[in-house]
């Protein structure tokens, strides 16, 4: 039996990556849900990115590269959102009520309406 890699994404957008060995609890269940191909990992990320609800889930991967890539994609997405907020704050000229009045940054709720 092989080592699996778990990427846990919590509702507050914490992302962590860990090893799951065959003797550990939850291994059997993880094995049934393991993501083998990177294409599936990327599609899962895209679905999560466009989802209306916050993500709170664990994902299992057979390859460390796919697990790392998946975790990084989520973190980079968060970073992009943060960068958009920083842009707004930096460009805020004090004429409107708050820096996100003319927001280009879309919340998950906004995206779900589209």
């Amino acid at each position: 039996m092989k080592v699996l890699y778990r990427v846990n994404i919590s509702a507050d957008e914490q992302v962590n990556i860990s090893r799951l060995t065959p003797k550990m609890r939850g291994y059997r269940q993880a094995k049934d849900n393991v993501i083998l191909r990177e294409r599936i990992a990327i599609e899962t990320f895209l679905a999560n990115r466009d989802a209306a609800e916050p993500i709170d889930n664990s994902y299992y991967f057979a390859s460390i590269d796919n697990a790392r890539s998946f975790a990084l994609l989520h973190l980079q997405w968060q970073e992009q959102q943060l960068a958009a907020i920083i842009d707004q704050v930096q460009q805020y000229d004090g004429t409107t009520a708050s820096s996100d009045d003319t927001s280009k940054h879309r919340s998950k709720e906004d995206r779900s309406k589209e």
Partner: protein
């Protein structure tokens, strides 16, 4: 990645088997001439507004990047639009920050720089052929979005194209290159080695595109199985992203040359005193 609009609304004459080759070529040349005028307007706009434009051309070997770059640069002033195609890094460059040699090539105001392959080498050929370590590769994927956001924030317009070619078409282009002595130079030993790594390149490409498709610097995918269509599609898409409403320079009325003021009359020296190129044609 913008693949949504990939399907055309009506069939292009360029791949319509009913249309003769001559008519297809005529259509292609006419469209290219029309786009050339638009490119000149874009050039005037870039010059006048002092804009800084970077266009990256990425894709597999023989995907047609070079052909598009050639058609873009042909009508433009090389002082405004230049091509950057960096070779293997020197020993010194290898010790520098990975992006350093690319940064040196970024445009000043009023310039367009076309990168024929770019910093994305690390996520493609270097990864697949094992020219970078695992740590360098992952650090690259992490750094690129930050690096490109920095460029965009500084006012650079960054446009990224991926030329998508199918396995069969790439193989047939490789065979053409191998046969044709004027194209053989395009086939490097590295191309031949990477021929057997189609799948590894595909995986690397998918990962690269998903990690680096960021706001302000999206990837645009060009279907390049048909070279001529790819050229027209790419140039017209590029033009659609950038304003190019400047008029082309006005027609110039060349009046008859004025007679020169009085002075010593010029006499051409005997031809035998100069070293002429032999006229063998």
């Amino acid at each position: 990645m913008t693949t949504k609009n990939r399907k055309r609304q009506s069939p292009s004459p360029l791949d319509d088997p009913e249309v003769s080759k001559k008519r297809r070529n005529r259509f292609y040349e006419a469209e290219l001439s029309r786009l050339n005028i638009e490119l000149i307007k874009l050039q005037e706009h870039v010059k006048r507004e002092g804009r800084r434009i970077v266009v990256l051309f990425e894709g597999r070997d023989a995907a047609g990047k070079g052909g598009v770059i050639k058609r873009i640069t042909e009508p433009l002033n090389p002082r405004v639009c230049r091509v950057v195609a960096l070779g293997t890094p020197t020993e010194r460059q290898k010790t520098q920050w990975y992006f350093q040699r690319y940064v040196a090539e970024l445009p000043a105001a009023g310039e367009i720089v076309l990168f024929d392959r770019s910093w994305y080498n690390r996520a493609g050929v270097e990864r697949v052929m094992g020219f970078c370590s695992d740590a360098e590769y992952w650090d690259f994927l992490r750094s690129v979005p930050d690096f490109e956001r920095m460029l965009v924030r500084s006012g650079i317009v960054l446009i990224k194209y991926w030329f998508s070619v199918s396995n069969e078409v790439q193989e047939s282009r490789f065979r053409d290159r191998a046969k044709d002595p004027t194209k053989r130079w395009k086939l490097s030993p590295m191309d031949l080695q990477s021929r057997d790594k189609w799948q590894a390149y595909s995986l690397a490409k998918d990962r690269m595109l998903s990690h680096t498709d960021i706001h302000g610097a999206r990837w645009h995918i060009v279907n390049s199985d048909n070279k001529k269509r790819a050229r027209l599609n790419c140039i017209s898409h590029l033009l659609s992203l950038l304003p190019h409403d400047e008029p082309v320079p006005d027609e110039i009325d060349l009046t008859p040359r004025a007679l020169e003021a009085r002075g010593p009359k010029y006499e051409r020296p005997p031809l035998s005193q100069q070293n002429y190129v032999p006229e063998i044609y």
